[in-house]
Amino acid sequence: MHIETTDVTRTYGDVTALDGLSLSIPSGSTFGLLGTNGAGKTTLFRLLIGHETPDSGTIRIGDTTVSAAGTEIRERVGYLPERAGFPAELTAREVLAVTGRVRDLSDVDSRVASVLDTVGLAGDADRPVEGFSNGMRRRLGLATALLPDPDVLLLDEPTAGLDPLGVVAFHRVVEDVSERTDATVLVCSHALAEVERLCDRVAILRDGQLLAAGELAELTAGTSGLEETFEAVVTGDERFGDEQSAVAADGPDASEAQRPPDTAPAEREEGAP
């Protein structure tokens, strides 16, 4: 499902987390979101799942404007937060069952069994989470995001703190999901190698502004890889100036970006349309 942000701005007091962000993410792509700390990546995720509304600008997932959809948008979006955690006393199966029931899904038990198999936790389904390694917990988090068979999958720092084997196992699951489904996957990560491995498109943010966006091969052309590209873009290398910004802006047109915001600047009360 196609994701489009148009001139999105979000501030917290004096801090501008996102500053006129316009970004187009094609349906079915695996998109990497890169940036320094405070670049606005997590804020964008929170906007995408409707936890907050932009001060100005619009975000659309498919045909739906996120700010108008309320919690409904989360029926179509699976989100693995960076700090996902689970009650230690519950088993993996119980964790997934309760999230499935809260989602009001049908056939929860069979879905749970299926998704446990997908993330490689079928053999540990009935063990309490307290005995799980970090990698297993992250895969369980991924399973909660995959349970509704989402159109959009958001992964926020999915492998942070995992050992190399955990990272590899997690990557395999994401690659498998990307291959088997037509979900649009958005990965926010500081691990450039991870983004290089998983993603076909990339955007680079700094201080809430989009510095560059486009196909991975296109962005890394003429460099030794994403690491060099990232450093050059963030430090303002001339090679990655206007040219890449043009790639970033290929989604929403400029006139649309200037239109008045259709959302209130204040935080939307959850539950309100």
């Binding site: 917290y12 007091g13 801090v15 987390a17 997590t42 804020t43 929170r46 799942i49 936890h51 907050e52 959809a69 309320g70 919690t71 409904e72 948008i73 989360r74 029926e75 179509r76 699976g78 989100y79 693995l80 937060p81 700090r83 996902a84 955690g85 689970f86 009650p87 006393e89 519950l90 119980e94 309760v98 999230t99 029931r101 809260v102 989602r103 009001d104 899904l105 049908s106 988090g141 909660t144 995001a145 509704p148 068979d149 989402p150 159109d151 935080e267 009360e269 959850e270 539950g271 309100a272 349309p273």
Partner: protein, 311 residues
């Protein structure tokens, strides 16, 4: 994407209904949409509450609460002795009621202080917040589950000393004991609600624990002493005395239960209040308000908590 079970799936309070042709059809569709929303909310809250009950059992909270109330109840029976007749029953029941003033709030605050901040620290709240459910429903489910465990613990814990009292003083004591039990449960729910509200305010579990302990000290120890001092020092109107009682759930409970047991003369502040004109009905409503108001505050605070999470 797979469709959910029910029809219109929206945020809490927002209903999407099918396009209709006439007003009456529109009203019907709207009513149907509301029913669907209520049914969905019930299922979501019920699922979360059931999980909270399961956690309460696995974390031994249910056993701890039952054991605590049973042990203290038996202790009261042991020390109260077995004086014959109505006076003996009233004295023992009043002792049980006074015990509940100290133990029930402490147990409720200890059980409820991490209701929100605990899952927030562990990351479970973030996982739940990523689901198509409002934070208010998440809070409602968690609180309902904890409420069930707490009330179950109070009821089962008082069952043993209650049964001994009935066997000793006869079945005519059952209504008074039932009143005591219901009031103790309501007192527990009131302090659980206070604990949940405090839990939504703070960012760390240790801060929530500290706030809960301060709340216990204020409501159980300090407030009554201060109120008694104010009543003794100044010639307060009946309205002011009433306000002092209603400002503290333990005072409300104490006046309600001691009045129902016919033992209103015992207990410092309670004896001063015997002529304040507070009816049992008003006291029961006040206790219910002490459950509802903190929970309403918590429902607002948990939304604010969500907005500050990203900052």
């Amino acid at each position: 994407m797979t469709e959910p079970q029910s029809g219109p799936q929206t945020d809490g309070g927002t209903t999407v209904t099918a396009t209709t042709v006439t007003d009456s059809e529109g009203e019907s569709a709207t009513a149907s949409g509301r029913r669907t929303q209520v049914a969905l909310a019930t299922r979501q809250v019920g699922s979360l509450a059931a999980t909270e009950v399961r956690l309460g059992l696995r974390r031994r909270w249910a056993v701890i609460l039952v054991g605590l109330f049973a042990a203290f109840g038996m202790l009261v029976l042991t020390f109260a002795g077995s004086a014959p007749g109505t006076a003996g029953f009233e004295r023992t029941a009043a002792s049980l009621a006074m015990l509940a003033v100290y133990v029930v709030p402490l147990a409720a605050l200890a059980y409820g202080y991490d209701a929100v901040v605990g899952p927030a620290e562990s990351g479970w709240l973030e996982v739940l917040s990523a689901l198509p459910v409002t934070r208010t429903r998440i809070l409602a489910g968690m609180t309902l589950g904890r409420g069930v465990v707490l009330v179950g613990g109070v009821a089962l814990g008082f069952l043993i000393p209650g049964a001994i009292l009935v066997s000793e003083y006869g079945p005519s004591t059952v209504p008074a004991l039932a009143t005591l039990l219901l009031a103790a449960a309501a007192l527990g729910l009131a302090f659980l609600a206070v604990a949940v509200a405090l839990s939504t305010l703070v960012r760390e579990k240790t801060h929530a624990l500290g706030a809960a302990l301060l709340a216990w000290v204020w409501f159980v120890l300090v407030h009554d002493l201060l109120a008694l001092g104010v009543v003794a020092a100044f010639d307060l109107s009946a309205g002011a005395v009433t306000a002092l009682v209603l400002a503290n759930p333990t005072s409300v409970y104490r006046v309600l239960v001691l009045g129902e047991l016919g033992a209103g003369g015992t207990g410092g502040f309670a004896s001063v209040l015997s002529a304040s004109g507070l009816s049992s009905g008003l006291l029961a409503v006040a206790l219910a308000a002490w459950v509802a108001v903190p929970l309403a505050a918590a429902a607002l605070l948990v939304r604010w908590r969500g907005t500050i999470a990203a900052t």
